[in-house]
Structures are given as structure tokens and as C-alpha cells.
Amino acid sequence: MPLTMMTRGIEAIVKGCRAKDKTKKFLEGLGLVPGTKIAVVAEMKGDLIISVKGSRLAINKGIAQKLDVEAA
């Protein structure tokens, strides 16, 4: 399911990313690869702050929709 559907505070595991190559690669550099455990820290109208490998990333709704996750 897309990250947008994830409940806040619950951990999830990245399954894949449907963003454009360039964005996808950038996200990989930030730690968002399949198998990575993430959690939603805060949410603002669909835009998210997520916790990835100890750092915090702000991503907009558009990206969140393209990240597929499953419950951990």
C-alpha cells in the first residue's frame, strides 16, 4: 500500500518506489530502499515527516503516494 495510507506512529517496511528515476535515486541515497524500516513521525495534510535510519525526512504527499510500504 502507498505510504499515505499508513497510520501514524506505526512502523512499516519499504517495498518499492514508483517515483521517477532521479527522485528514486535521491531517495535511495537518503536510505529509502526496499527493506528499510520507516515510521511516520508527523503528518500535515498528507505531507509527512518520516523517520528513516535515524534521520528525519520531510516528504510531500506526491512522494508518499509513490512509496509502497507494508506493515512491519
Binding site: K25, G29, L30, M44, I49, R56, L57
Partner: protein, 681 residues
């Protein structure tokens, strides 16, 4: 012997702090990604050896997807520094080691500076340095740059590595991928060995990049078609087997290796995902109800202090210092020395007048930059960008455009330079075009002058409305340009949020000074020359005769020639035309020019004589149209230069300033003529 060390690391890893500590130069310490996109160099202090230190841009990986990544990569590959010092944020080690795994593959000696060890210790985590070094295959030196600890050790280690590099083989990277991937890597390495050697590139690294379908490397190697085809076959085979693209497979392999390294070398006290203090603050400041009010309150406070009582006090103070104390002393000094009248006029009216009118605003700009530094260094600026993303997206911009735009209220030139943090070219261009509409500090004296002369009753409201006008014009322009020249969605917003921290006063002042310096230099160079030239042009005629009436001077003639352009806007007299013309140099010059041309010599914007003089040429409506025009037209030489540099295209730069000036004319025209329709004067 002389050596070159390059500093590489993620944004927010403390690289700039480290660089400042090593080189002793005082530079910008910031929070958002890409802050050091300029190549900064320095010499290492406290070493006998000549060591050049190059600060590479902050990057998350070496893939060629952002300008910063390409800059860093090309530098390491082509300039071949003796050592790459990789600064790793120990408190965020997994993510940071991703870059490390890529740096090691380049075949250049790497020393890992494990920074922010103080944070790790406070958390109660433990890192086995020896183990980490073994597993990574490179020396690891602990440090805490913000506390000034370990920096010398890092440099010492790097120096030893550099000195022994010739005799010691660089270790082969320890990272091994899946067996199938390794097999393909071997095949590709054999295919391209000759081509990689020609560029002195590391074979394994080149092979990896080719499997990742890295276009930059392909271009550089210029492989024959049959080799390319073989590589494509390898890629297809891998993608088929793993059911994913090769880039992701490789990225995944790196993270798996890192996870193993971290599992062996790092002992975490707390593995659970508890909310940190930063998270708790973020829950409040990005709350769907409170986010915008908190943001507006912050901005309101910044502007209140900068442009309110504190700001105006500093203006009065510097004004008194420059225009009374210094000008007075110089004036009597020159008279006592028996200087010629023209020299007296040049120094007092021309130089002190021109440069003084800017110096007055230096403290105010510094205050604004101080608050910017506070917002950045504390970590809030990154959140503000996040909060504003949604709104800015409607204008074809992203949250990252917010930072340059906010800086635009201080000075357009550094604001335009700050657009480098935007990775998407379209977003960057649009932000550069719109940023000068944010009214910079230099335009303030114009509003203060006309506000006092024509809107004595509601001066602050009128001035505030000009600021709003700039924002509104930027919004409308954004919407128009998004629908025409800059079609398509803005880049998706992805930004690392550094943990909140209490900024150090030293850091804030370094940061403030770094930005404010540009403004001072401008006052000392561009404005100084402009003041002298303007003074000359309004004192002499084209035949180089000193003129009695400035209307006959060079400027007077130019003014008469261009005045008709501004007649439809309500201010067609030649003095206003000249002021607009000289304002091309810098907006501060507008006020100085009006003062000089009205035969009052140097005046401050609160000069009663100038008010009276202006009232004979302007009405309140014309004055407002003039204020709007000066807000929106061609920013200034310094901003123009910055725009040219950042847009890297004459076509776009001329389009930008042409658009701005065109909009200025239209808006002033509408204000004047619609105002008249409504019976305003």
C-alpha cells in the same frame, strides 16, 4: 611537499564546521542541503606541510543526479586529491555510511572522520572504532567538530595516509554484493578495463556505474557499440533475476553491507523507535492547525524587530554617525586644508552621500540576517520550507524556494545565490525570477522618503502595503509563468530535517557576517563608484563643462530623454527619470540622486527640504506609483550579476530583468490611471 585534502560528507554532518576549524576561515555554517555548493578552499592551520583543503558540496550519494553530486564526484575523479576526508555523522551512521561505501570505491585514499561523537556518547551508544575501521577498510578517527575535538587527529591521520600513499596500495573495497551481481561486475570490468585505465579510473567503480546505467560515465568513457551492448545484456539479465532495476539492487546491496557493519561495530543503548525531543517539537510546529499560525508568528516577530523600533533606532544611529559626525568632521577638515570647492562637493555630496545612504541600512540588514541564521541554525528553517511547500506548489515553486524568497527581504543578491539549493532547474529559474519582487532592504529608504513626504498620517500602512504588493506580484507572476513558460509540476519535496539544536552565538555571528559582508562590500565598491560617477554626471555637461543648472548636466540630458517613458505612470519629470536610471546601479541610489538633483546636496530620507521639493513634483498617487515602480523594476547591478551567474544564460537573465521591469511599468501604470479614475490624486 604540498598536499590536497577534500572534505566530503552528507549535508548536516558538520562538514562546514569542520572546514572552518581546519582552515580557520570564518564561513557559513548552515542547515539545509547543498549549502556549500561553492567550492571552498583553505589552508590547514598548525601544519608545517602545505595542505590545501577543499570543501566539497554536501551530498548523500555519488550518483550523478544533483549538481552537487556531479561537482563532488568530478572533483575527486579528475583532480585526484591526496586524501578524501569523509565526515560521517556518528549519530546517524547508517545513512552516512552510504556515501562512504561509494567514496571508497573511487580508488582515492579515504579517511573517515567520525563526527558528532559527543552526541553518541550522550545517547549512551558505543562505537567500536577499531572494528569499524577494519570492516570499512579505511582509517576511522573520532571527532566532535562543534566542540573543536579530534580535528587535529583527523588531519594528522590524513597526512600520514597522504605521505604513505605512494608506497601503500589503496585497499580494495570490502563491500561485496550478491554473487550474481559480482559475476556481472567481473564481466563488465574485463570489458572496460582498457577504457577505465585511460582515464585512471578504478575498474570496479566504473563497472558498477555502468551497471547502474550512469550516463555521465558512459559519456566520459565513450565505449564502442559492441561493449555497450554486452553491458546492456548484463543489466537485462540482472534486472530479470532480481525483478528490480540495477540501481536499486546496488543501493540495496550497499545498505545490507552497512547494516552488517553497524551491527558488528555499533552498540545502541536504545533500539526502540521512541520519539525524540525534535519529534515532539515537530508534532507541534507541523500540526495541521498550528503550523501556519506558528510560522506567521515567527515571521511577524522577525519583521517586527528588524523593521520596527530596533531597526529604526539603528538607522537613526548610523545616520547621525555618518551624515552628521563623519560628514561634519570631513567637511571642516577639507575646508581647513583649503581644498577646492569641487573636491569638497565630491567628497561630501558624492561619496559620503552615496555610500552613507547605504551604510545606514547595514545594521538593519545585519539584524535580518541574524534572524535568518537563528532560524537556520536552530533547524526551524527546514520546517518552514516543509510547511510552505504546499502553498508554494500552487505557484509552480517548492518549499525550498521559500528560503531564498525570505532572504530576498534582506538583499536580493545573496537570495538569488541561495537558489542553488533547488535541485530542479525549472524551479530554480522561476525562484530566481520571482525573488527580486521581495522588497529588499535597499528599497526601504525610497518608501521612507515618500512615505514621510506624502503619507504622514498612515506611513507604516502604506509602506507595509508596498511589501504586500511585491508578494502579490510574485504570486500572480508565479501562477502566470507556471501556466506558460514553466509548465509541469515542481520537483517533489524531499528534505532532511536536522534535529533542533540551540545555536551558538559564535555560529550565528559567523553566519550573519558571511551574508552581510556582501552588502558591505557592495557599499564599498559598486555604490562608491556609482556615487562618484553620478556626482560627475550631474555636475558636468557632455562637453565636460561644469554646469550651474543640473538640468544641463549629462544626467539631466539623459533624464530629459527617458522621462517620456514614465509620463504615463505619473512621474514624467526628468529628475525622477534620472533617479530611476541611477537606481539601476543600486536602489539606495534613488534617494541620494533625488537629493542631489533637487539641489539639496546629500540628504537623509527624513529631510524636510526634500519633502517640500518632492511635493511640488509628486502627488500622493504619483508617489505611490513611483514606489511601486522602484519596488518591481530591474533589481540592481549586484542582483543582476548574481542572476546571470545562477541562471548561467544571458537569455534568461535578460528575460528576468525585462519581465521585472515590464511588470513594474504595468503595475505603476495601473496604480496611477486606475487611481485617477477613482478620483485619487
Amino acid at each position: 611537499m604540498s598536499y590536497t585534502f577534500a572534505l566530503a560528507g552528507n549535508p548536516n554532518c558538520g562538514k562546514t564546521t569542520m572546514f572552518n576549524e581546519i582552515t580557520g576561515s570564518t564561513q557559513y555554517v548552515g542547515n539545509w542541503p547543498g549549502v556549500t555548493v561553492e567550492k571552498k578552499e583553505g589552508r590547514a592551520r598548525r601544519f608545517k606541510e602545505e595542505i590545501k583543503v577543499v570543501d566539497l558540496p554536501g551530498i548523500y550519494s555519488l550518483s550523478p543526479y544533483t549538481m552537487e553530486e556531479i561537482i563532488a564526484r568530478d572533483y575527486i575523479l579528475d583532480e585526484k586529491p591526496d586524501v578524501v576526508i569523509n565526515i560521517v555523522d556518528a549519530s546517524n551512521i547508517e545513512r552516512n555510511l552510504y556515501l562512504t561505501t561509494q567514496l571508497v570505491e573511487l580508488g582515492v585514499p579515504v579517511v573517515v572522520a567520525l563526527n558528532m561523537m559527543d552526541v553518541v556518547t550522550t545517547r549512551g551508544d558505543q562505537i567500536n572504532l577499531k572494528k569499524l575501521s577494519e570492516l570499512l577498510g579505511v582509517p576511522v578517527v573520532p571527532a566532535s567538530a562543534s566542540k573543536g575535538q579530534g580535528i587535529h587527529d583527523v588531519m594528522q591521520k590524513a597526512l600520514v595516509v597522504a605521505q604513505t600513499a605512494a608506497t601503500v596500495e589503496v585497499e580494495v573495497p570490502k563491500l561485496r554484493f550478491d554473487a550474481k551481481m559480482e559475476k556481472c561486475l567481473d564481466e563488465v570490468q574485463n570489458l572496460i578495463a582498457a577504457y577505465a585505465d585511460r582515464h585512471h579510473y578504478h575498474k570496479r567503480w566504473v563497472a558498477l556505474k555502468l551497471l547502474e546505467e550512469d550516463q555521465e560515465i558512459k559519456k566520459k568513457l565513450d565505449l564502442p557499440a559492441n561493449v555497450e551492448k554486452d553491458i546492456q545484456n548484463c543489466i537485462a539479465q540482472l534486472e530479470n533475476e532480481f525483478d528490480n532495476d540495477t540501481e536499486t539492487i546496488i543501493a540495496d546491496g550497499r545498505y545490507q553491507y552497512i547494516a552488517d557493519v553497524v551491527a558488528e561495530a555499533v552498540k545502541k543503548k536504545n533500539t526502540g523507535s521512541t520519539l525524540t525531543v525534535s519529534d515532539k517539537i515537530d508534532k507541534i510546529v507541523t500540526n495541521r492547525i498550528f503550523a501556519i499560525p506558528i510560522f506567521l508568528l515567527m515571521m511577524w516577530m522577525v519583521f517586527r524587530v528588524t523593521f520596527g523600533a530596533v531597526g529604526s533606532w539603528t538607522i537613526d544611529f548610523v545616520d547621525g554617525l555618518v551624515n552628521d559626525t563623519i560628514a561634519g568632521a570631513l567637511s571642516s577638515g577639507l575646508e581647513a586644508a583649503g581644498a577646492a570647492e569641487w573636491l569638497h562637493a565630491l567628497v561630501i555630496d558624492g561619496i559620503i552621500g552615496g555610500v552613507g545612504s547605504i551604510l545606514v541600512f547595514v545594521p538593519q540588514i545585519m539584524i535580518l540576517f541574524f534572524f535568518m541564521a537563528l532560524l537556520e541554525d536552530s533547524g526551524y528553517m527546514a520546517r518552514a520550507a516543509f510547511i510552505m511547500d504546499r502553498a508554494l506548489r500552487k505557484l509552480g515553486l517548492t518549499g525550498k524556494s521559500f528560503i531564498p524568497m525570505l532572504m530576498g527581504f534582506g538583499c536580493s543578491a545573496p537570495a538569488v545565490m541561495a537558489t542553488r539549493t533547488l535541485e530542479n532547474e525549472k524551479d530554480r529559474k522561476l525562484t530566481i525570477i520571482l525573488t527580486p519582487f521581495m522588497s529588499c532592504g535597499a528599497r526601504m529608504p525610497i518608501y521612507l522618503l515618500f512615505g514621510a513626504a506624502f503619507f504622514a498620517q498612515n506611513q507604516s500602512t502604506m509602506i507595509f502595503s508596498i511589501y504586500i504588493l511585491g508578494i502579490v506580484v510574485a504570486i500572480i507572476s508565479g501562477i502566470i509563468l507556471k501556466k506558460t513558460l514553466f509548465k509541469g509540476e515542481a520537483a517533489p519535496f524531499v528534505m532532511e530535517l536536522p534535529p533542533y539544536r540551540i545555536p551558538t552565538l559564535k555560529g550565528l555571528f559567523i553566519h550573519m557576517w558571511d551574508r552581510g559582508k556582501a552588502f558591505l562590500i557592495k557599499a564599498g565598491t559598486v555604490i562608491f563608484s556609482a556615487a562618484v560617477i553620478i556626482w560627475f554626471c550631474q555636475t558636468f555637461s557632455f562637453t565636460l563643462q561644469m554646469v550651474e543648472d543640473p538640468a544641463d548636466s549629462i544626467l539631466g540630458v539623459i533624464g530629459h530623454a527617458i522621462a517620456p517613458i514614465f509620463a504615463p505612470l505619473g512621474f514624467g519629470d526628468w529628475r525622477s527619470a534620472v533617479a530611476i536610471f541611477t537606481g539601476l546601479v543600486a536602489k539606495e541610489v534613488v534617494v541620494a540622486t533625488l537629493g542631489i538633483l533637487h539641489g539639496l546636496g546629500e540628504v537623509a530620507e527624513d529631510s524636510m527640504e526634500l519633502h517640500t521639493a518632492l511635493q511640488t513634483y509628486f502627488t500622493p498617487l504619483k508617489a505611490y506609483a513611483f514606489m511601486a515602480f522602484t519596488l518591481l523594476y530591474f533589481p540592481c547591478i549586484a542582483a543582476f550579476g548574481a542572476m546571470k551567474r545562477e541562471l548561467n544564460s544571458w537569455k534568461w537573465t535578460l528575460f528576468a530583468v525585462g519581465y521585472q521591469t515590464g511588470i513594474a511599468w504595468i503595475v505603476a501604470f495601473l496604480i496611477y490611471n486606475v487611481g485617477r479614475l477613482f478620483g485619487l490624486t
